[in-house]
């Protein structure tokens, strides 16, 4: 069976886009082929600095023939209608069949469609597919009316070894490509995938990204090992450099000794972000080594000597800059920098970083008192936690925020725990990161995240769909993980600390608004006056805005935070296999935002529902609720209240009544004492009387009173179970 080989050859494609583009290309072409009845054995896409390629194996030489039926008008329908039908179907009347659908006879056109040659279909389809390829950023270029990521130079497309002729972006398809930019000369002619990959290799191009990565990783490790060092693994960097070289060659360079007393994080970040070098370490001490690994794209005739020397020179300049900032930064204390935060806007509606720090500081103190952390140290750490944003190093490398704060704090002679908290209050910075460990760090971390959540919810900047520009989801998840993993007994949204946080955030928003009205550069006024066409009118209008309306709006916005956190909790617990419906069942009781307690309750419930007693009781509950609901609807009356079981009632009715009565008082006590497993055991005791009741007792007795009593009994069963969780939310 014939194969398809395709390559789009362009100027250098940004490394970060290559793999996604190859996947998209494969997805779009596979979809287009399947849509046209062209099945195949396999497809594989490739990407590199200058090319996207796709190999599709085992395609048919032509599309299958298909016959298509089209229902027409009834026999004897007006001539115009029949004519119109024949025209649209492209058939004559005697080519139509007559059929009967039971209601009468009508015409059916049977159109036989011959399958077209696959090559013809490809020539037609491929340009459309290319035009649909979703580049994150694309450009126009001379000679083309469609956009591509960078100017497109050639398209190689063969089917069964022959060129599939078409044109895209002003480029005609053919059977040639080019090799490495500097290590290969002249066009390479290709017929099939096998000679494509081999010829490229001879032309110093490794086609497969996975193979390039393997080569890089292997080479770096080996060269490090030869020096008694090891690689500090960096997946993101590996992906990037694999997209920057068609023929990766690893070289080792040296970091000058004068830089080795600069914090290793600065060295590593500078090497990574500016130069894309791998850092190495000494396996014995774990310390950063004075060597780095660079990945070049060149086999130089001097063995890379000049390349290494050049790179070392660049790094020296880079590190001199970094060292300059590091020395400069330590000339001022963090404390003296706090005031500078007034010049850094955190968010246009939430005020400056200084205002944020004021809020975090107060909140961290309150949380510290609750979780048994040192209040003074927590407040101190919070006070200093954003001051490093004004330093040169963090200005240059924003990802070092916190890390640098810790270094500067230690340099200033701050308490070690305070310094650690400055670094760790950003934790966890992603699913792979650990949550803060010390109590002081925890207090500041929680305050930071809560302030962020309440702030952004307060101004209605909630994440929507895939858009989460302020990383609100990450903050919520970090908060949840910290609370659960550190087993913190704290009410997140309802405690007194939360109430004072709300009022502080609301005040900041109000302050910002007031400032906007007074500021000579007032943006609000300018925006409004752009709309109404007069500045005087704009000022009048803005001043009329009711401040209370802002407060109401704030509270309204923030009220969505509880559900948001519950949703995040579901995501957080999904991996552990915790059922989301059970989280809902407990959460919707409405007064629980102590996450540790909530999760303990959910877990006990989940354990219970796995037992036979649990499943049966749930079934009994559902049956009871259905009956009560149906009868209440019929009677227009709610069966609540204490049932009074008459002495002559059946034994099973008595048993259930007694069981419920007994459980009712005990279960409340157990839940208050957070003995959820024991509470579930009590519930298990209900299963037998419930089953027996449904087996032996008819609820809808003719006697009105007996019926009412039984309905109340079932209603009470529901109420009792709802002390544990809202069972109606439980699925299955």
């Amino acid at each position: 069976m014939p194969d398809l080989l395709l390559e789009l050859f362009s100027e250098e494609i940004p490394a970060r886009m290559q793999e996604a583009a190859a996947k998209d290309l494969e997805r779009l072409i596979v979809g287009a082929l399947s849509d046209r009845g062209l099945m195949f054995d396999g497809a594989k896409a490739f990407s590199g600095p200058r090319r996207l390629a796709l190999s599709v194996l085992g395609l048919p030489a032509k599309q299958p023939d298909v016959s298509e039926e089209k229902k027409g008008p009834r026999i004897g329908a007006p001539e115009k209608a029949i004519e119109g039908f024949l025209r649209s179907a492209g058939v004559t009347l005697d080519q139509c069949e007559k059929r009967n659908d039971g209601k009468g006879e009508f015409y059916v056109a049977v159109i036989a469609r011959k399958g077209r040659a696959t090559a013809d279909v490809l020539a037609e389809v491929l340009p459309d597919v290319f035009a649909k390829l979703p580049w994150p950023k694309s450009m126009r270029f001379p000679g083309s009316i469609v956009r591509w990521v960078r100017p497109l130079h050639s398209i190689l497309c063969t089917f069964d070894g022959e060129v599939v002729p078409f044109e895209f972006a002003g480029v005609k398809s053919g059977n040639t490509t080019l090799g490495h930019r500097f290590l290969s000369r002249g066009p390479i002619e290709v017929r099939r995938f096998e000679d494509y990959e081999e010829k490229l290799r001879k032309a110093h191009v490794i086609l497969d990204t996975a193979e390039r990565k393997e080569i890089i990783l292997h080479e770096v490790k080996q060269k490090a090992f030869a020096l008694g060092l090891e690689l500090i693994e960096d997946e993101g960097l590996l992906n990037e450099v694999a997209g920057l070289a068609e023929w990766p060659i690893v070289l080792i360079g040296r970091i000058e000794d004068q830089f080795m007393d600069v914090p290793p994080e600065i060295l590593q970040t500078s090497m990574r972000t500016h130069q894309k070098y791998f850092a190495l370490r000494d396996p014995k001490t774990g310390k950063l080594a004075n060597r780095f690994a660079l990945v070049s794209n060149m086999v130089a005739d001097d063995g890379g000597k000049e390349i290494v020397a050049g790179n070392e020179r660049v790094l020296r300049a880079r590190l001199s800059d970094a060292k300059f900032f590091w020395d400069q930064d330590r000339k001022r204390t963090l404390e003296s920098r706090v005031d500078d935060l007034k010049n850094i806007v955190f968010h246009a509606k939430l005020g400056t970083q200084y205002e944020r720090v004021e809020r975090i500081e107060a909140l961290a103190g309150e949380i510290a008192a609750k979780i048994g952390a040192d209040v003074e140290k927590s407040r101190r750490a919070a006070h200093l936690c954003k001051a490093d944003l004004t330093t040169g190093v963090v200005g240059e490398f924003p990802e070092l925020q916190g890390v640098m704060g810790r270094y500067y704090a230690l340099h200033d002679g701050e308490d070690a725990e305070v310094a650690d908290a400055i670094r760790d209050h950003y934790k966890p910075q992603g699913p792979g990161d650990v949550v803060p460990a010390s109590k002081v760090s925890i207090a500041v971390a929680l305050a930071d995240k809560l302030d962020q959540l309440v702030g952004f919810f307060g101004i209605d900047e909630k994440p929507t769909g895939s858009s989460d520009p302020y990383a609100i989801r990450r903050a919520a998840l970090g908060l949840i993980r910290t609370v659960l993993e550190r087993n913190l007994r704290i009410s997140i949204l309802r405690g007194e600390h939360a109430r004072s946080l709300y009022s502080r955030v609301a005040k900041s928003i109000q302050d910002v608004r007031n400032r906007a009205l007074l500021d000579p550069n007032r943006e609000l006024i300018r925006n409004v006056s752009d709309q109404v066409g007069s500045e005087r009118m704009a000022i009048a209008l803005t001043q009329q805005l009711d401040p209370d309306a802002t407060a109401t709006k704030f509270l309204n916005n923030v009220s969505g935070l509880g559900v948001f956190i519950a949703d995040r909790l579901k995501v957080a617990l999904r991996e552990k296999g915790t059922r989301h419906d059970l989280i809902d069942a407990v959460f919707s009781l409405g007064d629980e935002d102590d996450l540790v307690r909530l999760v303990a309750r959910v877990e006990a419930l989940q354990g219970f529902l796995k037992t036979e007693d649990g499943t049966n009781l749930l079934a009994g509950y559902k049956r009871a609720v259905n009956i009560v609901k149906a009868e209440e609807k019929k009677d227009g009356f709610e069966y609540a209240g204490l049932p009074e079981t008459p002495t002559n009632a059946p034994l099973e009715e008595h048993d259930l009544a007694t069981a419920l009565q007994k459980i009712d008082s005990d279960i409340g006590l157990l839940i208050n004492a957070e003995k959820f497993v024991e509470a579930m055991k009590l519930l298990a005791g209900l299963r037998k009387p419930v089953d027996a009741f449904f087996e032996k007792v008819r609820v809808n007795d003719e006697d009105k009173n007996i019926r009412a009593n039984r309905l109340m009994l079932l209603s009470r069963l529901r109420a009792t179970l709802h002390l544990v969780a809202d069972f109606s939310k439980i699925e299955g």
């Binding site: 100027e11 250098e12 940004p14 490394a15 970060r16 600095p49 950023k137 694309s138 450009m139 126009r140 270029f141 001379p142 000679g143 990521v149 960078r150 100017p151 130079h153 930019r181 500097f182 920057l244 070289a245 130069q275 660079l294 070049s296 794209n297 060149m298 130089a300 005739d301 001097d302 000049e306 390349i307 020397a309 050049g310 790179n311 020179r313 660049v314 790094l315 020296r316 300049a317 001199s320 800059d321 300059f324 010049n343 850094i344 806007v345 246009a348 550069n521 943006e523």
Partner: protein, 291 residues
Amino acid sequence: MARTFQDLILTLQNFWAKQGCLILQPYDMEMGAGTFHPATTLRALGPRPWRAAYVQPSRRPKDGRYGENPNRLQHYYQYQVILKPAPADVLDIYLESIRAIGIDPARHDIRFVEDDWESPTLGAWGLGWEVWCDGMEITQFTYFQQVGGIDCDPVSAEITYGLERLAMYVQGVEFVYDLAFNDKFRYGEVFHQSEVEFSTYDFERADTELLKHHFEDAEKECAALLDGRKLALPAYDQCIKASHAFNLLDARGVISVTERASYIGRVRTLAKACCEAWLASPMGDYQPRFG
């Protein structure tokens, strides 16, 4: 091989002259980058073909380091090439220019690393790369997509060489002031004092009230020149003036974050209006000379 700083410039001048470029002279105004030269900003617009190359002194008040930093300067030279429309083999031509300077791609590691260019003050952006030589950025390469908020059609290629950096690389020098300007003079003899004095001016002495007035005067004049019978080129000069006044104010640290955005927006408004006026002028529009 360009042994000295001025050799480097002469080599590039000769190289690009052979590529059919007009060898223009620096624009006689203070500007942050060669892109601001009307030969790039304005000529990148409209259908008329254009090829030009020139040295442009670039002033970045904020980058002043009192002559103490090994490679940061508040005044340095860019070599700017603009090719419109961008030729299909423009990268090959560029690599030829690198060879001409004395960098042999067979001994070095030349890479095109994604770096999209944007100038918020000019309302301009494009896609391209920074060109790396052994890990050092030696050129900025951009395919212009928009200038003054207007689509560039046809698309131009802009090549910007940082001359000092390039010379430092070619000469193997680590401190910019050690560069051989010619056989007799070092770069420091020519420019060190000026770096010290201008850094002092940029950060300490520039009269900010006066600068604010300069900004507003230029803004006013620019708008006036675009009112009635439009004078695109003189108006654009005023836009350049406003932009430099803003850069000085920024270096003096008297502009807050919100003000900053607002100043940039005001320059952009001027730049856009100039670009539109240019397009409506005889040279902006394409008028074939024959037939």
